[in-house]
């Protein structure tokens, strides 16, 4: 039974990071209807910038964490300004392909740095003995990661519910024409959505980097696994991203805990999310909490 609870705990840990990664993805989609395929690369660069600042420059980890979030804030904002702004109103395939192109460019830039070829791991800055409770153990890094994730998601929810800027962003996602009429600057909202996504991606990257170590392939794969999460939760729902992230984390942990090694199966944690994705798409295309769009000729 404690094995089960251990899986639940690690599932929630992984799931909350999925939720944080999916959050940035949903932010972009919600406001500008852009499917950002390069999100995994944003997450990876967040992790790498944090590492570079913390280890090579020698800043305290908290400062490095914060600075990398600021850096990604501006990087993502300028990405929107340079590449996506020109493509407003273009067909969907162009927009998707631009983010794919962006993914390649970021890949190339990362391969130019040592992070593309070598593996790094963050120095331990928290106690290394895991916390034990009733046969279940959780490391300090994981615990702090989950707490930061919860704080960030709470902060974003507050931002969207209460602040003027957040409300205007929700207004744009609801009806662009009407929000222009009441004086909201749409390009500014798009830029801010990307900036917020970059901000959360940096946080997600730094947390993943601390838990799993810095390997470009792993971080890259994280960006792809975000797709099943956002589809399960509904592409435009922040709450859905959180719920779906945790569900997906639990499913992956249970799959690798109970399915692998039986009946000749292995690596099912990488397969199940996509099967769930297909099932969801077939039976409930707008996810658990997504808004159903009505189309007219």
């Amino acid at each position: 039974m404690s094995y089960f609870f251990q899986l639940v705990v690690s599932g929630v840990v992984v799931g909350s990071i999925y939720a944080l990664s999916a959050l940035g993805f949903v932010l972009i989609y919600k406001s500008s209807r852009v499917l950002n395929i390069a999100h995994g690369q944003l997450i990876a660069s967040g992790a790498f910038i944090t590492y570079a600042l913390a280890v090579w420059v020698g800043l305290p980890i908290a400062v490095a964490f914060f600075l990398s979030m600021i850096a990604l804030f501006f990087i993502a904002m300028s990405v929107e300004r340079i590449f996506l702004r020109r493509l407003i109103g273009e067909p969907i395939i162009s927009v998707i392909m631009v983010t794919i192109g962006l993914m390649s460019i970021l890949d190339g830039l990362i391969y130019l740095t040592p992070f593309g070829t070598y593996n790094f791991s963050f120095p331990e800055f928290l106690p290394t003995t895991p916390i034990q409770a009733g046969g279940v153990s959780i490391s300090w890094t994981q615990l702090v990661g989950v707490i930061i994730t919860a704080l960030l998601i709470g902060g974003f929810s507050w931002f969207f519910k209460k602040s003027t800027l957040g409300i205007s962003m929700r207004a744009v996602s609801d009806d662009q024409m009407a929000s222009m009429a009441i004086g909201i600057s749409i390009p500014r909202v798009f830029g801010l959505a990307w900036a917020a996504a970059g901000f959360s991606a940096a946080a997600a990257g730094a947390i993943i980097g601390n838990i799993t170590g810095l390997n470009f392939e792993t971080l890259h794969a994280f960006g792809i696994t975000v797709f099943p999460v956002v589809i399960l939760g509904g592409l435009d729902s922040i709450f859905g991203a959180v719920v779906a992230g945790i569900i997906m984390g639990l499913i992956q942990q249970f799959a690798s805990g109970y399915l692998d090694g039986h009946w000749g199966l292995s690596g099912t944690a990488n397969l199940l999310p996509y099967i769930i994705l297909l099932v969801i798409l077939l039976f409930k295309p707008h996810g658990l909490f997504g808004i159903h769009e009505i189309e007219r000729v």
């Binding site: 273009e90 969907i92 392909m97 192109g101 390649s104 890949d107 130019l112 070829t117 994705l277 798409l281």
Partner: protein, 364 residues
């Protein structure tokens, strides 16, 4: 009025039949035939090495695959981020035959044209199956569904013992009327085979696009609800577009397996899917000629970057594998630049040049 069938400065259609001609003038046809003859004759005159021939073979494989992708994404408007998986299905059809029958079974080595068709058929079946969600899904959701097919395909190849866990499965040397195709003539032989296949596929697509089944695809792309109102079945049309794309990809995959004499997991990854999509876009979505120009452009870019990074590697000693960094960088930059400045691709330059020549000596 006697119409000049050799040179026409402008359009003089008097019937719909005229407009549907593949070659508008005799000059067009002559140039086309001459170009095909050059394609057949040049290896006899220049004697390219095996290395150059492999590049040309790669371009032709990609051209067949992109032809299918262009039907799906360009003409039917369905975005697929899983095309390399369809190509992989074709390659693994041949590989499975080798696995079950042994890699020099007569069916594999003698009846390879049949194997190509079989791979195409399996590709079409898998394509239609993967296309089933298209009955309900659109745009982004469909793109993600094809992405998940790509991931599932990779898992199946990587973790199933039958597929050798993604390691290369060998395919035997094929036989032709003159005997077993030798090592020296291997790439040249497959160049001619693929040239014939590409020409057949090109004509098939060109003809398809002037029948009701081809026009159906375009109608569904432009507005599927309006197409529905006009009596087409958008869902079935989409599934059929996926089957078509799967067929071309399957043939391309089988050719890939034969040319490389084996099928391995690393040729059919997500990265390759994205490359096919980039080829279609750089060539020009929704144009036939773009399906051939795109693969040429992207493959040559890849080669150019590889050479450049070799040169750069000698200048900056220390930087070891600049190619791994420069390749995605150049690839991404080219895609982004094309989308921002020439979304209709190289085919648009081709169109401009043609209409300039057609109207010459007048400007318009």
């Amino acid at each position: 009025m006697a119409v000049n069938r050799w040179l026409a400065t402008g359009n003089y259609f008097t019937s719909y039949r005229d407009e549907q001609r593949i070659f508008q003038t005799h000059l067009d046809r002559t140039i086309h035939v001459a170009f095909l003859l050059v394609l057949f004759a040049w290896p006899l005159v220049f004697d390219p090495g095996n290395k150059a021939m492999l590049v040309v073979d790669n371009i032709l494989i990609a051209a067949i695959a992109v032809l299918g992708l262009n039907l799906l994404t360009g003409f039917a408007g369905l975005i697929s981020i899983g095309h390399a998986a369809f190509v992989g299905v074709g390659a693994y059809t041949v590989a499975s035959a080798c696995r079950v029958l042994g890699d020099s079974h007569p069916l594999v080595t003698h009846a390879w044209p049949l194997m190509l068709l079989a791979a195409g058929g399996v590709g079409a079946a898998v394509g239609a199956f993967v296309g089933l969600p298209a009955m309900r899904l659109k745009h982004l959701y469909l793109a993600i569904a094809t992405l998940s097919f790509q991931m599932i395909f990779q898992w199946v190849i990587n973790f199933m013992g039958f597929f050798n866990q993604g390691q290369t499965i060998f395919v035997g040397r094929v036989r032709w009327f003159t005997g077993t195709v030798s090592r020296d003539g291997h790439y040249l032989f497959w160049y001619y085979v693929m040239l014939v296949v590409v020409i057949l596929c090109g004509y098939a697509v060109r003809n398809l696009l002037r029948t009701r089944y081809g026009r159906c695809l375009v109608a569904v792309r432009d507005n599927d609800r309006a197409a529905d109102a006009m009596g087409m079945h958008p869902g079935l049309t989409k599934v059929y577009a996926f089957a078509l794309a799967g067929f071309f990809a399957g043939v391309a995959g089988a050719l890939h397996a034969y040319v490389y004499r084996g099928a391995g997991f690393e040729s059919f990854t997500l990265h390759h899917s994205i490359t096919y999509l980039a080829m279609a876009i750089v060539g020009g979505l929704g144009t036939l000629v773009g399906s051939f120009l795109g693969p040429v452009a992207i493959m040559l870019l890849d080669l150019g970057v590889e050479d450049l990074s070799k040169v750069a590697g000698t200048v900056f000693a220390g930087a070891k594998n600049l190619a791994t960094a420069f390749k995605p960088l150049a690839f991404g930059t080219v895609i982004v630049l094309f989308l921002m400045f020439e979304p209709r691709g190289i085919a648009n330059w081709w169109r401009i040049a043609r209409s300039y020549l057609k109207l010459w000596p007048f400007r318009y």
